[in-house]
C-alpha cells in the first residue's frame, strides 16, 4: 500500500491520518464498512439503555398504586425511552446496514461521499451522548418524544432537560439528513455497470425511499424544534398563548415529520425481509416491480396522513374524514407487500434458519401492527382508542414486531458477512422463540388495556380498574424479552470470537454481497462486477435461469484489478461534529463556547473542502 500526495497548499499540508489499524484508524475512518460497524455497536449500546428504561417503566406498572418510580422520573423515562429507541437505536441500526450493505448490494467500493458518511456517524454518536448527558446535568426532558409546547416551554419545564432534548435531536438530525443525501446519491449514481434501477435489490429500494422521506421530513421537525428552542432560550413568543399563539401549529409540524418517521423505520425493515425471504425459499421475490411501486406509494402517501395523530385536537369532521380516508389508503400498498411476501414463500423450499424465523416473525407481527393501524384510522372510534394502551400496543407491533424483528433477522443473515463468523443457529432460534413469546405477552395485553380504558403515559393506576392482570402479564413478558435480547447479545459476542469462520456465501445467497469474501476486504470488489440480472449471484449459480450472456461477464471478472484507489481517513468529519457538540453545551451554559464551537466547525469545513483526498492505493492481489 502506498500513500500519495502531490501538491501541498496550507490545507493540504495539514497532517493526515495514517493509521490503518487501532483506535485512530477507527476515529478517522471513511470506510463505509467500518462506519457501518461503528453504527452497529453504538446503536446496540443505546438500544440497551432504552431497554432498561422500558423495563423500569414496566416494573412500576406491574401492579396498581406502585411507588417504585415517582411520577417525574416516569415521565422522563418514557420521554427518553421513545427518543432513544427511535433516534438512537432503531434508525442507526438500520443505518448500520445501509452503510455496510448498500455499496455491496449495488456493486460499489464506497458510498458517494465517504467523509460525509463519517460525519453522519459522529453527529449521531455525539448527539446521542449530548441527549443522554442530561441524565447527569439536572435530568432529561419529561415532555414526551413529541415535546408539545406549551408544556415543553420554560414556564412548565424550567430545567435544561428540554433544551438537551431539542439540541440533541437537532444534532442527530443533521447526521441523519446528511446520510439521507448520501444514500440517495450512492444508490442513484454508484451502481455497477448493468445494475439498472429495476435490478436494484429491494433493500436498496427501501433505503432510497427511506432516504427521500428523511430528506423531506427532517427539515420540518427541525423547524418545530427550533421554534420551541427559540421560545425557551431567547424568550420569543411563538407558542405563548397570551401572545395569541396557536399550539396546533407545532402539532402539525411535528407530525408532518412524525408520520413519515414511522415509514423511515419500517421501510428498511420491509427491505430486509424482502432480501431474506427469497434466499431461504430459494425463489425470486414475488412481484418485484409491484413491491418497488408499493414502496414508493407508501412513502408518498405517508406524507399525507399526519393529521390522523390529531383526530382529537378539534380539526372538525371534514379534515378528520380526509385524513382517515388517506390513512386507510396506505393499507392497500402495505397489504400488497404482505401478499407478495407470502407469494414468495409459496411454492418455495423454505429453510427455517434463525434469520428466516425472525423474518417470518416480522410477517406475523407486522400484520397485527398494520391491522390495528387500520382500526386506528377510523376517526370516530379513534376518539376512544387514541392515547390509550391500544396505541402503545399497535406501534410496538410495528416498531418491534416490524422493525426490530427484521433487524435481528439482518444480524443473523448479514452478521457473518460483517464479522466473518457464523452466529450460533441454536441460540438464534432460542432467541427468536423467547422474543416472540415475550413480545406477544408484553404487547398484546396492551391492546386489551386500551379497550379497558387505560390511557398512555400514566405512571400509576388505581386498583379496581381492571388493569391489574394485563399489566402484570405485560411486565412478565417484558422480562422475557429482556432475557431474549441478552441471549442474542451473548450469541453475537461469543460467535464473534469463537464462531465458525463464515464462507463467502453461507446461505446460498442471491445478491452481490455474497460474491466477495467474509469479512469484506477494504475495496469490496476486486473487480467491479457487471450485472446482468436482478438476482445476479443466483443466476450465475444457475445459468439455465439467465436471459443473456452471463457466462462471459462472470469470466471477465475473474482477474482482479491491479491497483485500486481508495479514499484515506480524515480528521475533519470528527472535528466539524465535535465543534457542534461542544458548541451545543456552550449554548446552554456559556455563549463564548458556542461561538468557539461554531468557529471550529467552520474551520473544519474549510479544511474538509481543501485538505485533499488522502487517497491510498490498495493492491487486491497482495491481500488474497
Amino acid at each position: 500500500m502506498a500513500t500519495i500526495t502531490v501538491e501541498r497548499s496550507f490545507w493540504q499540508a495539514l497532517p493526515k491520518p495514517k493509521a490503518e489499524s487501532g483506535f485512530w484508524s477507527w476515529v478517522t475512518t471513511v470506510d463505509h464498512k467500518r462506519i457501518g460497524i461503528l453504527y452497529f455497536w453504538t446503536s446496540i449500546v443505546f438500544f440497551l439503555i432504552g431497554g432498561v428504561e422500558a423495563l423500569l417503566m414496566r416494573l412500576q406498572l406491574a401492579g396498581p398504586n406502585q411507588t417504585i418510580i415517582g411520577p417525574d422520573l416516569f415521565n422522563q423515562l418514557f420521554t427518553m425511552h421513545a427518543t432513544t429507541m427511535i433516534f438512537l437505536a432503531i434508525m442507526p441500526l438500520t443505518a448500520s446496514f445501509f452503510n455496510y450493505f448498500i455499496p455491496l448490494l449495488i456493486g460499489a467500493r464506497d458510498v458517494a461521499f465517504p467523509k460525509l458518511n463519517a460525519f453522519s456517524y459522529w453527529m449521531f454518536l455525539l448527539g446521542g451522548i449530548f441527549l443522554n448527558s442530561s441524565w447527569f446535568l439536572g435530568g432529561p426532558s419529561d415532555a414526551g418524544w413529541f415535546g408539545y409546547p406549551n408544556y415543553s416551554l420554560k414556564e412548565y419545564n424550567p430545567g435544561l432537560g428540554v433544551d438537551f432534548w431539542i439540541i440533541g435531536l437537532l444534532l442527530t438530525g443533521i447526521g441523519t439528513l446528511v446520510s439521507g443525501f448520501n444514500f440517495i446519491v450512492t444508490i442513484l449514481n454508484m451502481r455497477a455497470p448493468g445494475m439498472s434501477l429495476m435490478r436494484l435489490p429491494m433493500f436498496a429500494w427501501t433505503t432510497m425511499v427511506t432516504s427521500f422521506l428523511i430528506v423531506f421530513s427532517f427539515p420540518v421537525i427541525t423547524v418545530a424544534l427550533l421554534l420551541s428552542l427559540f421560545d425557551r432560550l431567547f424568550g420569543t413568543l411563538l407558542f405563548d398563548i397570551f401572545a395569541g399563539s396557536d399550539l396546533t401549529v407545532y402539532h402539525h409540524l411535528f407530525w408532518v415529520f412524525g408520520h413519515p418517521e414511522v415509514y423511515i423505520i419500517v421501510l428498511p425493515a420491509m427491505g430486509i425481509v424482502s432480501e431474506i425471504l427469497p434466499v431461504f425459499s430459494r425463489k425470486p421475490l414475488f412481484g418485484y416491480s409491484v413491491m418497488v411501486f408499493s414502496t414508493m406509494l407508501i412513502g408518498f402517501v405517508g406524507f399525507g396522513v399526519w393529521s390522523h395523530h390529531l383526530f382529537t385536537v378539534g380539526m372538525g369532521p371534514v379534515v378528520n374524514t380526509v385524513f382517515a380516508l388517506a390513512t386507510m389508503i396506505i393499507a392497500v400498498p402495505t397489504g400488497i407487500k404482505m401478499f407478495n411476501w407470502i407469494g414468495t414463500l409459496y411454492g418455495g423450499r423454505i429453510r427455517f434458519t434463525a434469520a428466516m424465523m425472525y423474518a417470518l416473525g416480522f410477517l406475523a407481527l407486522f400484520l397485527i401492527g398494520g391491522l390495528t393501524g387500520v382500526m386506528l384510522s377510523a376517526a370516530p372510534s379513534n376518539a376512544q382508542i387514541h392515547h390509550t394502551y391500544f396505541v402503545v400496543g399497535h406501534f410496538h407491533y410495528v416498531m418491534i414486531g416490524g422493525a426490530l424483528f427484521s433487524l435481528i433477522a439482518a444480524i443473523h443473515y448479514w452478521g457473518p458477512k460483517m464479522f466473518g463468523r457464523m452466529l450460533d443457529e441454536r441460540l438464534g432460534k432460542i432467541g427468536f422463540w423467547t422474543l416472540f413469546v415475550g413480545f406477544n405477552m408484553t404487547f398484546f395485553p396492551m391492546n386489551i388495556l386500551g379497550v379497558l380504558g387505560m390511557p398512555r403515559r400514566i405512571y400509576t393506576y388505581a386498583a379496581g380498574m381492571g388493569f391489574e392482570t394485563w399489566n402484570a402479564i405485560s411486565t412478565v413478558g417484558a422480562l422475557i424479552m429482556g432475557l431474549s435480547i441478552l441471549i442474542t447479545l451473548y450469541n453475537l459476542l461469543t460467535s464473534l470470537r469463537r464462531g465458525e469462520p463464515a464462507p463467502a456465501d453461507p446461505w446460498d445467497g442471491r445478491t452481490l454481497e455474497w460474491t466477495i469474501p467474509s469479512p469484506v476486504p477494504e475495496y469490496n470488489f476486486a473487480r467491479i462486477p457487471h450485472v446482468s440480472s436482478r438476482d445476479e449471484l443466483w443466476v450465475r449459480k444457475h445459468p439455465q435461469l439467465a436471459h443473456g450472456a452471463v457466462a462471459e461477464t462472470a469470466a471477465a471478472e475473474e482477474a482482479p484489478e491491479e491497483a485500486i484507489v481508495m479514499p484515506g481517513g480524515s480528521y475533519m468529519p470528527l472535528l466539524v461534529a465535535l465543534g457542534l457538540f461542544v458548541g451545543s453545551y456552550g449554548l446552554l451554559y456559556y455563549m463564548p463556547v458556542f461561538w468557539g464551537g461554531i468557529a471550529v466547525s467552520l474551520l473544519g469545513l474549510v479544511g474538509w473542502a481543501l485538505e485533499g483526498d488522502n487517497l491510498r492505493i490498495v493492491r487486491p492481489g497482495g491481500s488474497h
Binding site: 408544556y151 407470502i342 382508542i385 394485563w470
Partner: protein, 357 residues
C-alpha cells in the same frame, strides 16, 4: 344486544375465560352508557371484526405455506453444513431440485389490490357518516357545561345554571350535554370512556363535543394527554342523576352548610372563618362566602363529591384532613401548598367543608 356485543368483543380480543377482571372495569368503553360511546364502540367492533377476518385468513395462508413448503428431511440434511465446500459441490447436483422460479402473477396482484379496497370501503362509509354525526350540535335543549383542564384537576362550569364545580360533573340522565372544552394551562384531554371518546383541552382554543348518559350512575374518566407530574392522577367522575335529583342538586348548590346540631354549627362557623382568613380563600371559591379564588377547584359542593384531589382519595373526613394537612404527601408535586393549620383549625375546616353538601 349490548350484552351480546360485550361478549363478542371480549372473545374477539382473545380474552375468553378471563372476563372477571373486565367486569370491574369502570373505563371499559365497549360497555357504553350513552349514545356517543355506543356509536364509537360499534364502529370499533366493525373494524375489529374485519381485521380479525383478515388476520385469520392471512395468517392461515401463511401457516399453510410454511408447513407445506418447508424443506423436507432429504434436503435439510444439507443445511446443517451451511456454506462448506461440500455444499458448493452439491449445488450443481441440486439444480433439478430448484422450486419453480416464479417471479409474479399479474392476475393475483390485481386481486389482492382490489380486496383491501373493498374491505376499506366497508369501514370508510360508517367512518365518514359517524364523523359528521358526532360533530353535529346536540340541539337547543342540550345542557351546556364548560370544561376547563387545570394542572391537575377539572373545572366544570354550567353557564345556564350559574354553577361551578370541580372534578365531579353532575349531569341529568337522558339529556344531551354540550361540552365546551378549554384549558387554563397546558394541553389536557377530556375523556369519560363509557360516555364518549376524547377531546383535547388546548390552551388558546375552544373545542366542543357532546355526550349523554342513558342510565344513572357514576362514570369514571381521566386526563389522556400528558400534562406533567400528575397526569396519571388527573381523574374525574361524571355523576349521572335522574332529572329530579339533578334539579335538587342545582337548587341546593350554594345554599351553604348543612348541619344537624348547634355544636356542629359552631364548628362549621369556626371552619368558615379559618377558610376565609387563612390561605384557602386565595385559591378556592365557595359560593356565598368571601372566598373567591380561582387557582384551585371551586369547593361550593365539596361535601357532596365522592372523591378528593381529582379522583385519587375517597371523600371522607379523615382523608380530607389528611389532604389538607399535607397535600404533598398525598400527591407529591401537586400545586396545593401546605397551609400549616393547627389541629383545631384543621378539624373545624374539615367539619365546614364536609357540611357543604
Amino acid at each position: 344486544m349490548r350484552h351480546f356485543q360485550r361478549i363478542v368483543g371480549l372473545a374477539a380480543m382473545g380474552v375468553a375465560g378471563v372476563a372477571l377482571p373486565v367486569m370491574a372495569a369502570p373505563q371499559y368503553w365497549l360497555d357504553p352508557a350513552g349514545p356517543v360511546a355506543a356509536m364509537q364502540g360499534q364502529l370499533f367492533l366493525l373494524t375489529l371484526y374485519i381485521m380479525l377476518g383478515i388476520f385469520v385468513t392471512v395468517s392461515g395462508i401463511l401457516v399453510y405455506t410454511l408447513v407445506r413448503f418447508r424443506e423436507r428431511a432429504k434436503a435439510s440434511a444439507r443445511t446443517g453444513e451451511a456454506g462448506t465446500a461440500a455444499r458448493r459441490e452439491t449445488a450443481a447436483a441440486a439444480e433439478d431440485e430448484l422450486p419453480p422460479q416464479i417471479e409474479g402473477n399479474h392476475k393475483l396482484e390485481i386481486i389482492w389490490t382490489l380486496i383491501p379496497f373493498v374491505l376499506l370501503l366497508i369501514i370508510a362509509i360508517p367512518t365518514v357518516r359517524l364523523s359528521f354525526a358526532l360533530a353535529a350540535d346536540p340541539g337547543p335543549d342540550a345542557l351546556e357545561v364548560r370544561v376547563v383542564g387545570h394542572q391537575w384537576w377539572w373545572e366544570f362550569e354550567y353557564p345556564q345554571l350559574g354553577i361551578v364545580t370541580g372534578n365531579e360533573m353532575r349531569i341529568p340522565v337522558g339529556r344531551p350535554i354540550r361540552l365546551i372544552i378549554e384549558s387554563a394551562d397546558v394541553i389536557h384531554k377530556f375523556w369519560v370512556p363509557k360516555l364518549a371518546g376524547k377531546m383535547d383541552a388546548i390552551p388558546g382554543r375552544t373545542n366542543q363535543m357532546w355526550l349523554q348518559a342513558d342510565e344513572p350512575g357514576i362514570y369514571y374518566g381521566q386526563c389522556a394527554e400528558m400534562c406533567g407530574t400528575h397526569h396519571a392522577n388527573m381523574r374525574l367522575r361524571v355523576v349521572a342523576l335522574p332529572q329530579a335529583e339533578f334539579d335538587a342538586w342545582v337548587a341546593n348548590w350554594g345554599r351553604g352548610p348543612v348541619v344537624e346540631d348547634e355544636a356542629q354549627l359552631a364548628a362549621v362557623e369556626r371552619g368558615r372563618m379559618v377558610f376565609e382568613t387563612r390561605a384557602c380563600y386565595a385559591c378556592h371559591a365557595i359560593e356565598g362566602t368571601a372566598a373567591r379564588g380561582t387557582a384551585g377547584p371551586n369547593l361550593t359542593d365539596i361535601g357532596s363529591r365522592t372523591t378528593l384531589a381529582a379522583g385519587i382519595l375517597e371523600n371522607t373526613p379523615e382523608n380530607l384532613a389528611r389532604w389538607i394537612s399535607d397535600p404533598q404527601s398525598v400527591k407529591p408535586g401537586s400545586l396545593m401548598p401546605r397551609v400549616g393549620l393547627s389541629p383545631d383549625e384543621l378539624r373545624d375546616v374539615v367539619a365546614y367543608l364536609s357540611s357543604l353538601r
